[in-house]
């Protein structure tokens, strides 16, 4: 539906392409901007990654209550305190082993770009279905923050999420939030900063080969 998404990235990074360039499909390379870190939003379709992207960067990517609307990777810059953070919104994925083209894009990006943080966005109502991807992200050695989104809807269903329990069990930071209602955004930003400002700025998981 949102045709403009193909151009979205370019508008957002303040490089307007003329209609002719758009027709001939000559993409200009993304300008190189100095950033203090790169984070990616990951998760199954329709968990609110694009809303979160909007909230973090102020860039509007069309959000839709329809799974699979994001097929391209969007990039933007978020200013968190004094940090300039590059934020990458990825197409939805169910597992690290891709089944379709856009999942392949998301997977390659996750594993190949040097990310400081991967934010795994999950739907609080379906936590159990989403955690397998969390495991895979941790296994891949990525520094993961678990963003448990749509808390408002979970609460309406009478569900309570014990974030401390999740945090101790998974050994990664957990933030409860409702991105659409602007709840939990500040906490998430603080958690991101903690990662970026930690002296090593390295993945917390030991990558040494177990022999």
């Amino acid at each position: 539906m949102n045709c403009h998404q193909c151009q979205q990235n370019c508008h957002s990074v303040k490089q307007k392409r003329s209609w002719w360039k758009r027709l001939t499909n000559k993409y200009r390379p993304e300008p190189v901007l100095a950033v203090d870190g790169t984070i990616a939003l990951v998760g199954t379709p329709n968990v609110g990654k694009s809303v979160l992207f909007n909230r973090l960067t102020g860039i509007y990517v069309t959000v839709s209550n329809y799974p699979g609307t994001t097929v391209e990777v969007s990039r933007g810059i978020a200013k968190i305190q004094d940090y300039r953070v590059r934020v990458i919104d990825t197409p939805g994925m169910y597992s690290l082993v891709p089944i379709s083209e856009e999942e392949q894009v998301a997977r390659d990006l996750l594993l190949q770009e040097s990310l400081d943080v991967a934010i795994h966005v999950v739907d609080a109502k379906n936590l159990g279905r989403m955690l397998p991807l969390t495991f895979q992200l941790i296994e891949a050695g990525l520094p993961v923050i678990l963003a448990v989104n749509m808390m408002d809807e979970a609460e309406q269903l009478g569900l309570k999420v014990r974030s401390e329990a999740l945090q101790t069990e998974l050994d990664i930071p957990v933030v409860l939030m409702s991105a659409a209602l602007n709840r939990g955004i500040r906490e998430l930003k603080q958690t991101i900063i903690q990662y970026l400002s930690s002296p090593s700025n390295q993945p917390l998981i030991n990558l040494e080969v177990a022999t």
Binding site: L23, V63, Q104, L111, K125, Q136, A140, P203, L207
Partner: protein, 487 residues
């Protein structure tokens, strides 16, 4: 990492041996580009990740070594490796969910549950869909947007802007052709900008508003789920419903979304159907506006397009045999859409759309002006005229088909113009609407098609679609004449 999944013994052993094998490769590790974590690499290999195996195929010796490790692990297990791995993760996830989620008394929302069932069940779902089409599309977009709003803005243009522009042009430029570039019948302002703002804009604005409401409410996935059965019955995968439904908003975006389809065959069929028989927002609106006064004509148009869609779908599914992937669609909850979100979304789409079409419309005006100046326009028009008369259209519509090549909505806007001057009969309106729907909607979609499917495939599709559109128009005209139908 107290609860990181621990896989069944044979798998853990295989992971360990792949890890040390990778370590032993050192520089020769082809897979190091994929992940920094050997454990993750090992698991991806065990799950037969296609990209990794393809890389590995560059080194047959390494590939063989991994295959041996895999076979050893597989022989000790009853289930396929990937299944066993997924199963372990899911079990772990469920256990963790037990710990992390506290469920108070189930206050399952009864109303949304009932609504969900009503929208998904075909018996109630189809009437609901019809009601949405009638009130949302026909009444709101067709009568209000394409009727009321267009009349107002058109009237304003014709009454206030065009005469002023023509007058100023006449005074500024002593040379007639220069006057024609800005004003008069085909001028940039009097035709290009007028078409864009007076005809297309109100139609698209109302349609996008409507579509955004449906989208945010969560109705669209339920509609897809309901239509899934219909799709299966013609041999298409249900998953292809997603781009089709999105195509009702914008075919260009929908063509991009065909990426979510699993097989090449499905992507091919979906792209073809999108470009042939799925009208986009702009087309819907203008066609509704054209036919709104004649409900019977609208039914004929709708019935024919649905018919062509089903037949083309059925035939192409037969033509490209193959399996289609299983349909698995996350059904989001039904939500009461938030006004602000809808307005923002509609606004962003409008901005995008307007930015896209306005330059095109202006360029079209310039091209037409150039063509008329050099006489080329008349030559092309004379070439199209026989085609137009063959499908029963008056000669005056020949330029409309020329516009139609630029964009379908531009052509439709041209028809709108002729109709408002009373130059078309009901039959001609129906035929023109059908032919324009079957055409490719716009250059942007053509461009995305080339990007997604390649030049060769796109050329084949276009070479089929253009003559086919005219052929259908011809046949419909013939049938109308034989049966002596008139609207």
């Amino acid at each position: 990492m107290t609860t990181q999944p621990t896989y069944p013994e044979p798998i853990e052993r295989a992971i360990a041996s792949i890890e040390s094998w990778l370590h032993g490769l050192g520089e020769n590790n082809l897979l190091s580009q994929y992940s920094r974590s050997p454990r993750s690499l090992a698991l991806l290999l065990l799950q037969k990740d296609p990209a990794l195996w393809q890389t590995l195929a560059n080194n047959p010796r390494q590939q063989q070594e991994v295959e041996i490790l895999l076979t050893v692990a597989q022989n000790q297990l009853q289930y396929p490796l990937d299944l066993a791995i997924a199963e372990t993760r899911q079990k772990q996830a469920r256990a963790l969910e037990e710990i992390a989620i506290q469920k108070s008394q189930t206050t399952a929302n009864a109303t949304t549950e009932v609504l969900h069932r009503l929208t998904v069940n075909p018996i109630t779902g189809i009437p609901i869909l019809m009601a949405i089409l009638y009130f949302g599309i026909y009444k709101f977009v067709g009568e209000f947007g394409a009727g009321e709003l267009v009349d107002r803005i058109e009237g304003f243009f014709e009454g206030q802007i065009n005469p002023v522009v023509n007058q100023i042009a006449a005074q500024l430029f002593p040379w007639q052709p220069l006057q024609d570039l800005i004003g008069n019948d085909y001028g940039i302002i009097t035709l290009g900008i007028r078409y864009a703002t007076a005809i297309v804009l109100p139609v698209v604005a109302t349609y996008f508003l409507m579509f955004s409401v449906l989208e945010d409410s969560g109705y669209l996935p339920r509609m897809s789920l309901m239509l899934d059965r219909l799709f299966k019955s013609i041999g298409l995968s249900g998953r292809a419903v997603i781009p089709m439904v999105l195509g009702l908003g914008c075919d260009t975006m929908a063509t991009m979304v065909t990426r979510t389809l699993e097989t090449r065959r499905e992507r091919l069929i979906a792209t073809f159907l999108l470009s042939l028989a799925v009208p986009c927002a702009a087309q819907w609106g203008v066609i509704l506006g054209l036919l709104a006064q004649k409900p019977a004509a609208l039914m004929v148009w709708g019935g024919l397009i649905v018919g062509i869609f089903l037949i083309a779908g059925y035939l192409s599914a037969k033509l490209f045999p193959g399996t289609s992937g299983a349909f698995y669609l996350e059904i989001p909850p039904l939500r009461l859409p938030k006004l602000r979100n809808i307005l923002t979304k509609t606004w962003v789409r409008m901005k995008w759309y307007f930015g896209e079409i306005l330059p095109l419309f202006i360029w079209a005006s310039v091209f037409i002006w150039l063509g008329r100046l050099t006489g080329l326009f008349d030559v092309i028009i004379r070439g199209i005229e026989p085609l137009a008369t063959a499908i029963g259209m008056p000669k005056a519509t020949a330029p409309v088909f020329l516009y139609g090549f630029f964009r379908r909505d531009y052509g439709a806007a041209g028809l709108f113009d002729i109709q408002q001057q009373g130059g078309l009969t009901g039959n001609q309106l129906v035929i023109a609407a059908i032919v324009l729907t079957l055409f490719l909607p716009c250059i942007a979609q053509l461009q995305i098609m080339i990007k997604e499917r390649g030049l060769k495939t796109t050329t084949f599709m276009v070479a089929f679609i253009f003559p086919f559109a005219f052929l259908v128009g011809y046949c419909v005209n013939l049938v109308f004449n034989i049966l002596r139908v008139s609207f």
